[in-house]
């Protein structure tokens, strides 16, 4: 259930914000994580994501995810004279990314703990 704010308006659940992206949740997380380092245009995003995640986002997938993130207000374009328009993270996008990564980390911690306890893997 979404928490209620003082005014009675439901507060958005940032941890679940990316769940609505369906098959684009993965690319969206990678894009937000890349933009957490600063504004980047499409090709710079592709190279940065490839360097830290080992995944190369194809152009069509990248721009579908960018369009959805922008529509949700999680990223925004930066004014540029160049044909390559950079994007940057918004404050809401940063909070959403943090909530999403926290949730992922909890899952990873539990999985690793169970692997260590039952399988002896560290």
């Amino acid at each position: 259930m979404p928490r209620k704010k003082a005014g009675g308006e439901p507060e958005p659940d940032h941890a679940k914000a990316l769940a609505g992206f369906g098959r684009y949740a993965g690319p969206a997380t990678l894009i937000l994580a890349s933009l957490a380092d600063g504004a980047k245009h499409g090709y710079a995003l592709t190279k940065d994501i490839e360097s830290f995640a080992g995944v190369r986002l194809a152009p069509g997938t990248l721009y579908e995810a960018l369009a959805r993130l922008q529509a949700q207000g999680l990223i925004e374009p930066v004014e540029s004279q160049d044909r390559r328009r950079p994007y940057r993270l918004t404050a809401v996008g940063a909070v959403t990314l943090q909530a999403h990564l926290d949730a992922q980390r909890r899952v990873a911690d539990i999985g690793l703990r169970r692997l260590a306890g039952n399988w002896g893997l560290t």
Binding site: P12, A17, A36, H41, G42, Y43, T46, A58, P59, G60, T61, L62, Y63, E64, A67, R68, A71, Q72, G73, L74, E76, R83, R84, R85, R88, L89, T90, A91, V92, A94, T96
Partner: protein, 366 residues
């Protein structure tokens, strides 16, 4: 005798002023840019105008780095199709809720038109058969009554849906509003005029509309049945039998070719008007409810139609015998209904969304 200071030019030596044939021609178009431009064409115009430049730059860099990549081509094609479906209001995110609702309603209009084109052809066959004799099975009788009731509901829904859009278009044009509405309105009216005049002309010429014992017993007035038959004359299995088709009068053949084009003009004009007319939110929600009601009516009509086809009345001389064209028509109608339901769901989702959940918050950067 001394040799001259300057030797005569050797005709075999290359002219230093001539362009190097191995060097690229600066005026020639860049093949990588051309490939990127070709890939960009998979996306709809609105998407291209928003993302076209930056997406092309990304494609150029990607092609430069990986000259041959089938996965990239497949990904761009898939992305383009998804963007086109989103542009038609059939999936994903659109620029804004109202624009998405209007796009979905326009798609729903097109689907309903396709459904009605084939449905009307079947219904007119049954109602014209009823002009001549009583249906020979309970299933056909029930199916004809159900389909006739659904047709009546369709007429009411179409009128209710068209009135607010027509009023809005007329008032905007009267105030010198967006010029983009003039074309769709003209297309719609021209197509409608051709359908009505041609349908009336060929319907009046049909001998089954009166003068025989059962003419007054039909489920619907003979003129309505004949008009429906004439306006959907092109939905015919005769297209698969060119020899039989050649025996048709030239005027009838011309009408069979012209009437689908006129109907397409009506639908294209209506859909464009729906997309371009900015309706108040309340009216838009009303239109969405009408669209959902139209989907329910289509499902009822298809149920009646399926009951008639699966009951297999005796034939083929029987007036109520369903043919291959009716089975094919039912398949097309089912597909149109599926897409229409998808459009109605998208329209309802867009209409319900009062505001973007996150965009209303302050969006500073970090």
């Amino acid at each position: 005798m001394n040799a001259p200071d300057t030797a005569a030019p050797d005709p075999a030596a290359p002219d230093p002023a001539a362009p190097d044939p191995a060097a690229p021609d600066p005026a020639a178009p860049d093949p990588i840019a051309q490939r990127a431009a070709r890939l960009l064409r998979w996306y709809p115009k609105a998407w291209r105008s928003r993302y076209g430049e930056e997406f092309t730059e990304l494609l150029i860099c990607d092609i430069d780095e990986r000259p041959r990549s089938r996965s990239r081509t497949a990904d761009v094609i898939r992305g383009g199709i998804v963007a086109r479906l989103a542009d038609a209001g059939l999936c994903g995110c659109a620029p804004g809720a109202a624009a998405q609702v209007r796009a979905s309603l326009a798609s729903l209009t097109c689907c309903a038109a396709v459904f009605l084109g084939f449905g009307d052809a079947m219904w007119s066959q049954l109602t014209i058969g009823w002009q001549w004799s009583e249906p020979d099975s309970a299933a056909t009788t029930v199916a004809t009554v159900v389909m006739s009731g659904a047709m009546g509901v369709f007429a009411v829904l179409a009128l209710l849906a068209a009135l607010p859009v027509a009023c809005s278009v007329v008032s905007r044009m009267a105030r010198g509003g967006p010029r983009g509405l003039l074309g769709p309105a003209a297309l719609f009216l021209a197509g409608l005029a051709v359908v009505v005049v041609g349908g009336r002309h060929f319907g009046n010429g049909w001998p089954g509309t009166g003068g025989h014992p059962w003419a007054g017993q039909g489920l619907v007035p003979g003129g309505v049945a004949a008009f429906s038959w004439a306006s959907t004359l092109s939905v015919s299995s005769f297209w698969a039998h060119p020899a039989a088709l050649a025996a048709f009068p030239a005027a009838e053949l011309a009408w069979m070719a012209l009437s689908p084009l006129a109907a397409a003009c009506v639908v294209a004009g209506a859909a464009a008007a729906v997309r371009r007319t900015e309706l108040p939110p309340g009216v838009l929600r009303f239109e969405v409810r009408l669209g959902i009601a139209a989907c329910v009516t289509m499902a009822v009509f298809l149920g009646g139609c399926s009951a008639w086809i699966t009951s297999r009345p005796p034939g083929p001389g029987n007036l109520f015998h369903p043919g291959a064209i009716d089975v094919a028509g039912a398949v097309v109608m089912a597909a149109a209904l599926a897409v229409a339901q998808r459009a109605a769901r998208q329209a309802r989702a867009g209409g319900r969304r009062p505001r973007r959940p996150y965009a209303a918050r302050p969006t500073g950067t970090i």
